[in-house]
Symmetry: C2
Subunit: 374 residues, 2 copies
């Protein structure tokens, strides 16, 4: 049986492992956290730093194929392993272009994909200067994800330290994401676009909905761009591409991630092939096909309550949620922190108005509290 190594052991890896059990696969996981969500679900867990080259190279010895569930892994290790002939999903060359947001932007430019105008800044001083010229939106070139390492200098004038991409702000009408997949034979498929709906008061995802409620032509365009991007990068694997739709109806590529992605959680219930299944089929060398939508769906993150810190009170949340017709995924984290992603729920309904209404309602109550200290 194939031994698949995964760099990173978080919730994305955990959902990958849940699906991997449907295939003849041994899955090995590398993560620095001894309590990583993947630990109890894999054949073999190595506690170590995936950013450290020797650690990654030692870990890879036991694997036939390597993949990632987080981008900031040791690229030099992956490059050496790839040269030695190890299958790596996605290929290190593509990963190199993606993990550095400066190279990522230059790639979009080179491919002729529309992306917000930008300049690169080496230092905070250069960033401040770029902001004065209208490039007010700062993204650290090498940063985390989920809104870390970004700053809007028109709101908060002190720049972050470090090399960054300085972008002009696009006047957003909506945000979309498309998941693309490409198998070892070069066949590309895309999932229908997801619309990310943000909370009107706080800048935070309220829910995601699929299909998106936008002009079918816009959606088609987004899917074509995602397909073009995965083709150009020659990635074997999956690629989540995020777009901004501006107030004039134009699409802009925002960023991409060559791994399972939060914007694809709904695919577990809403498609016959989930994003995790798609990645596993590619890892197994199987030819892929168009995923079939089983139902319109919405996804709401379950977050740590704004004041919650400590041992999570899962019970009262589960009591509420299991009464309703929703699909629950609690990631089993041992501690809750304010706004930490603790899980997600998926709603299915044929009517998109009802879906939106229900999703907005759930977003008000999808919080995990902490148990009282005693």
């Amino acid at each position: 049986m194939m031994r698949l190594g995964v760099l990173g052991g978080g919730q994305l890896g955990r959902m990958l492992l849940q699906k991997a059990a449907d295939y003849p696969l041994h899955v090995h996981v590398l993560d620095p956290d001894p309590e990583a969500p993947c630990r109890p679900l894999c054949s073999h867990f190595v506690c170590g730093d995936f950013r450290d080259a020797p650690t990654v190279e030692a870990f890879a010895k036991g694997c036939d194929t390597l993949t990632i569930e987080i981008e900031n892994v040791s690229l030099p290790a992956l490059q050496r392993l790839h040269e030695k002939g190890l299958r790596i999903i996605p290929e290190p060359e593509a990963l190199e272009h993606i993990t550095d947001k400066g190279l990522q932007k230059q790639l979009y430019q080179r491919l002729g994909l529309p992306t917000a105008p930008f300049v690169l800044a080496e230092t905070a001083t250069e960033a401040r200067k770029a902001a004065e010229e209208g490039f007010v939106f700062q993204k650290l070139r090498r940063s985390g994800y989920d809104g870390y390492g970004v700053r809007d200098l028109s709101q908060e004038p002190t720049p972050l330290e470090g090399p960054s991409v300085m972008e002009q702000k696009i006047r957003r009408a909506a945000e979309l994401a498309v998941m693309a997949a490409r198998d070892a034979h070069g066949r590309v498929v895309t999932y229908p676009a997801v619309e990310m709906v943000f909370h009107p008061q706080v800048h935070r995802l309220q829910y995601q909905i699929c299909p998106c409620g936008l002009d079918p032509q816009v959606e088609q365009q987004a899917r074509q761009m995602a397909a073009a991007l995965i083709e150009s990068l020659r990635i074997t694997g999956i690629l989540a591409v995020e777009f901004i739709l501006d107030q004039e109806g134009r699409l802009w590529v925002n960023e991409c991630a060559p791994r399972p992605h939060n914007s694809g959680h709904h695919t577990i219930e809403a498609f016959d092939i989930s994003q995790f299944d798609m990645l596993l089929r590619i890892a197994l060398g199987l030819p892929i096909r168009e995923p079939l939508m089983r139902s319109p769906s919405a996804m709401v993150n379950i977050l740590g309550a704004p004041q919650a810190s400590g041992i999570p009170d899962y019970e009262s949340f589960l009591l509420m949620v299991t009464r309703e017709q929703v699909f629950v995924h609690v990631y089993g984290k041992a501690r809750v922190k304010p706004l930490r992603k603790m899980g997600h729920i998926t709603l299915l309904h044929p009517d998109s108005h009802i879906l939106r209404k229900k999703a907005a309602e759930w977003s008000e109550k999808a919080y995990i509290q902490a148990l009282p200290d005693n």
Copy 2:
């Protein structure tokens, strides 16, 4: 987080573990096979015999709740643990009535549930005598499952050795199964009945289909009987009840199993709450609700090919199956044997005629071959 112990580490446990990862749970598994399908997917695996009382009692020390995925576990151990206050799903008293097929038949009789007329035989001599009186169908009182330990003495006159139930043969028109569930608050729900369709030539399950194609009144009756049975047994947990429908349209309870069951595999994709999810909700002490059918479905077992013995050739099977719109579950067994259950596929389609046709077709090709020796 709750620590749930599972006695038995086969494919049913494996599918339970896949779902358990959606809840805040640590799952511990006890199985004598160091290569048990559950091993790579649980927090804690103990290699040991679940039929051995001291082993079970030692294993239980680390658990808050204990459940089973196979019936022939140490009942004395469960009884002692239950007396000491450990939560056990199902309760040992119910298990006692089910693991002995003689007690099981007497229970149906006592509850007034229709079941094939029977006598009990202690020895092969008594069995032969019973057969002469028309009770030709022999079932060992304590035996395995899936057709082991049963013999039709009208076909093969030498009885099996050991205490057995001797039944009159029912002239079957169809076979059904109903999954019932009962939570800690006493609420009972049932799933729609499944029809088991047998191959016209070989006596082997060809496919299962849900909803069953039978008279709605018959189905309702089967669901009511399953509900009555789980109520009477006062089981906290789930109970699969198998029925025979005779040629006069009457239902007979055939047997039952207080655990996840082959007849409930389709619930993973076809219902919003699968049989595994239902059991987990009960284990977590959550109130249960009616499961919602998402689509009509059929289930086909993937078997070892009749001559196959050795290392399974999963690749050629997966190449065939992933092209089609089916949901595949390969249990990841390291060796294939003739007719061994290697996995299953689930088909979804709104039209039951198409489902039946496709399921029958799949049953002709859902075989795993062995790789050539070399």
